[in-house]
């Protein structure tokens, strides 16, 4: 008897996570993560610079890079999850099984969220341990910054899945996801304030709350070196993250459900 959709989602997610564990992407991500933590912890004493004295200030340096890690997570663990079934022809094995396309997409999204959460948790965990050792304390704001990072990650994963459902090649999906969040959204978020439009709806602008929670730089210079940036308040930012995550995920499910495996 065909199992329930929930049981099938768990099965799909388990095999997707196995893919990430056995592939080189997770290993590469963990090496990068170790490198960042190592540089932040090891470089100041090597250069004779003092560490920040408060845990918030110490971790805010980590937080400025968490946005990039989130985008890399979306690129490596989400952007090609759907399109690769077509491009690599594994869909010919997977799709004739008695499982609905939306169940497959949901299972893959769950896997992406779990793997990205694990990576970001490791990053923040390492930063928190380092902060505890070096400054001797931790604050709730560190946890808040971590939660905001996870919120931003859901938005990135949602959009990455939409692109994966829409585009025909894995390269296009991964490259577009990367540049959308590192370049395109940032440019739009930097230019809109000059036209007196507050870019509250741009996820990269909203991601400013990650560093802001720790008292980090509240102003993001625009591409022209401008001095005015815009970061929405936390509630708006979280709503923006949720909007992108849900809209991206739902549209990905709808589009992928109609996508044909023709060649």
């Amino acid at each position: 008897m065909t199992p329930s959709p929930l049981a099938q989602i768990v099965t799909v997610a388990a095999y997707e996570i196995r893919k990430y564990i056995r592939g080189r992407r997770l290993l590469g991500m963990l090496i990068l993560l170790g490198l960042i933590v190592g540089l932040f912890v090891g470089l100041p004493p090597a250069l004779g610079i003092k560490y920040a004295s408060t845990p918030d200030a110490f971790i805010s340096t980590f937080a400025t890079f968490s946005g990039l890690l989130v985008v890399l997570g979306g690129v490596l663990f989400a952007a090609d999850a759907l399109v690769s079934e077509h491009e690599k022809r594994t869909g010919y094995f997977l799709f004739p099984n008695p499982v609905r396309r939306e169940v497959l997409v949901l299972g893959k999204i769950v896997a992406s969220l779990i793997v990205c959460t694990a990576v970001l948790s490791l990053y923040y965990g390492a930063a928190a341990i380092a902060a505890l050792i070096i400054t001797g304390s931790l604050t709730w704001e560190v946890g808040l910054s971590y939660l905001y990072t996870l919120g931003y990650m859901t938005a990135v994963v949602g959009v990455a899945y939409l692109l994966s459902a829409l585009l025909k090649g894995t390269v296009a999906a991964t490259v577009l996801t990367f540049f959308l969040f590192t370049l395109i959204f940032s440019i739009i978020g930097g230019i809109l304030p000059r036209a007196n439009v507050e870019p509250w709806f741009i996820p990269t602008s909203a991601s400013g709350i990650i560093a802001n929670a720790l008292g980090g730089p509240a102003v993001r210079p625009g591409p022209g070196g401008g001095d005015v940036g815009f970061i929405p308040d936390p509630a708006t930012s979280l709503l923006v993250f949720a909007g992108y995550a849900i809209a991206g995920g739902v549209l990905a499910i709808l589009w992928y459900g109609r996508r044909e495996l023709a060649s």
Binding site: P3, R100, E260
Partner: protein, 323 residues
């Protein structure tokens, strides 16, 4: 369309295609296909490349949507209820790729869990199907090391895993060496003997003749012939015979051969060998041989080139191409 023998059709036939059509932009891959496969029979779905065979199979397995008509498996519309419709089938479509990071055992476990198989069933069935396709020794190796032929064997194994009532096979011997092809045919024949329904596309007529009871011939998205292999072979009137003579045939000999009753075409293939297209079935072939001997030609060999069904296949394809 020529229908020789129609199988009895039940209400919930394993395969029922009604007015099935598919367009890719302006290209019509499938016109309006009506086809039913009765339980326990094996149908060879024949046609040249681009005839619409894969399109039909992809619609049947919910990989693509039909532009019109419907496909039902065991009475369940594939488009409306794909999960229920696909529950009782096993399919091999083209040469599928598998996840390189998994082993055959893990791949079968993935497919089995999606189908709700218990761990105990999965273990025993996985062992059995891997043995059947001769992949037991490779059960724990990563698939990324596998050749195309090994992947094709694994594809067949996963299609058999849950002991489906209907097997849909799209050119199942594609990518296999001659020995592998023969082994896969044996597997399919044994499944047929177990009473399973088989829907198998192929462009290899010999393969279909060996494995299937019935045949459906498709070209340009249209059904040309549907009937039992035996009846169609018997009913096929034209065959090609290759005759070899002791001495080279002269132009006069060739002219005389062309004039024999039943001879439609004479084509020399070497100095002393000619290919003759003959109508009239086996009696026609006997009359032509008598005519050759009467003319004084010393015939060394006189043998059919391919089967009468093959000739029928080629004739119908050519006819359909001309239209």
């Amino acid at each position: 369309m020529e229908a020789v023998v129609q199988q009895p059709i039940t209400r919930d036939a394993p395969v029922r295609l009604e007015g099935l059509g598919k367009e890719y932009g302006h290209f019509t891959a499938l016109k309006a296909l009506d086809l039913t496969v009765a339980e326990g029979t094996s149908l060879g779905f024949l046609g040249p490349n681009g005839a619409g065979k894969s399109t039909t199979i992809k619609i049947m397995t919910n990989l693509i949507r039909p532009s019109r008509g419907r496909a039902a498996l065991f009475g369940i519309d594939v488009r409306r209820e794909p999960t229920r419709a696909l529950a009782r089938i096993g399919a091999v479509i083209e040469t599928p790729e598998f996840y390189g990071y998994l082993s055959p055992l893990e791949t079968l476990a993935y497919a089995g869990r999606l189908r709700g198989m218990s761990s105990k069933d999965l273990r025993s069935r996985s062992e059995a199907v891997l043995k059947e396709v001769k992949l037991t020794e490779w059960a724990d190796h990563r698939i990324q090391e596998f050749s195309k032929g090994m992947k094709q064997r694994l594809a067949i194994a996963q299609s058999l895993l849950h002991e489906p009532d209907l097997l849909i096979l799209d050119e199942p011997t594609s990518g296999l060496d001659p020995r592998g092809m023969a082994e896969v045919r044996d597997v399919i024949k044994s499944l047929k003997d177990q009473g399973r329904t088989i829907f198998m596309s192929s462009h290899l007529l010999g393969e279909v003749q060996e494995v299937c009871d019935d045949v459906a011939l498709l070209n340009h998205g249209e059904l040309l012939i549907r009937g039992s292999v035996r009846e169609l072979s018997r009913g096929a009137d034209t065959s090609t015979i290759q005759a070899t003579f002791l001495h080279p045939a002269t132009p006069q000999d060739l002219e005389a051969l062309a004039g024999l009753p039943g001879v439609e075409e004479v084509k020399p293939s070497s100095d002393s060998t000619v290919d003759l297209r003959i109508t009239g079935g086996q009696e026609g072939q006997a009359r032509v041989l008598e005519g050759m001997i009467a003319r004084g030609l010393k015939v060394i060999t006189y043998r059919p080139l391919g089967s009468s069904l093959e000739q029928l296949y080629l004739d119908r394809i050519q006819e359909s191409d001309r239209l």
